[in-house]
Amino acid sequence: MADRSLVHVAFYAALIAALGLLPPVAIPFLSGVPITAQTLGVMLAGVMLGPVRGALAVLLFLFIVALGAPLLAGGRGGLGVFFSPSVGFLVGWPVGAFVAGWIMRATGRLNVLTSSAIAAAIGGIVVVYAFGIPGLAYKAGLSLAEAAVGSAVFIPGDLLKVAVTALVAETISRGLPAAFLSRT
């Protein structure tokens, strides 16, 4: 069912966009921390769709941003964002979604909550930062250590998003199991 796959990919790309547009009041415990809810969408795409479709969803989202839709959190968009110092994180997103989806499948014997927490933490944090920090260091002419220190402020927020991803994935696996595509 290729059309359903296309629609699902588009769906998660739209979810990433919508999470960037939701008013911050929607996620009160996250406000005040300099983070965007969008990586939540990236984690969910990988965890829910599996490696290939999850990565495609993120790529589709970034493609639309590049076409000129201001869909990154804070209303940023267009080609400019791909020249900003944080571009490494954006590059890490599709890879992170891929890894999260792959882990989801590889840990298919664990329960959904544990499995998706591991997948989101490794895909959404470890992998994304593995691209983001060198990218920042290179773009801003910093050392890796400096770039890592500069990025560390985002980690607490990202850990919260791992927890939310796991809870959401677990709820969907009970409430609408047919939508849980990463393990099929």
Binding site: A2, A14, L67, P70, F83, S84, A140, V149
Partner: protein, 202 residues
Amino acid sequence: MIAMQIPGDTWAHRLPAGLKLVAVAVASILLFQVSSFWTLLPCLAAVISLYASLGRQGLAQLKLLRGLSVLLACLLALHWLSGTLLEGFAIILRLIIMILAANFVSVTTRMDDMMAAVQPLFRPLEWLGISSRKPALGVTLVLRFTPYMLQVFSMLQEAYRARTGSSGSWRLLAPFAIQSLRMSDHVAEALKARGGSDGLTR
């Protein structure tokens, strides 16, 4: 709905999208070679005058820098701490020039023109037996889903508030995902009923 483009029909709007994309690519390669502060300053002046040529609406676009200012200030502080302040200035100047130049293309090019300009890049998909229309259709679907999802979320928030008195927060995310996923299944069905993403010309 969601757009960052400056409405209107200036000289920059009339340039072909493909040409503008090539210009940005060339500019980024050239700028990469430059590290002297004194060469970068006139470049900054040039890119700002591009915006100025679009009139007041063009200059208003420079507020983009305000959003970046915190990040750029942090980077500069890191450079200052490691004693490379001058180098840091040049790097940040180069970042600003490049971001402004790329953004200039985006604010003066309609999204469908941009899509049409990059469409040929998807031609190779046909060799793999994949319709090259798929990416464009995917873009359309995302732009259609996004406002709908925001609507679903605010409806859920209202229903939650009506029953609990407090606003919904992250607890609504799972029901939100489930409701929107159901909608996406309907859309998939409707798309298939009209011949699917490959069309009917096979």
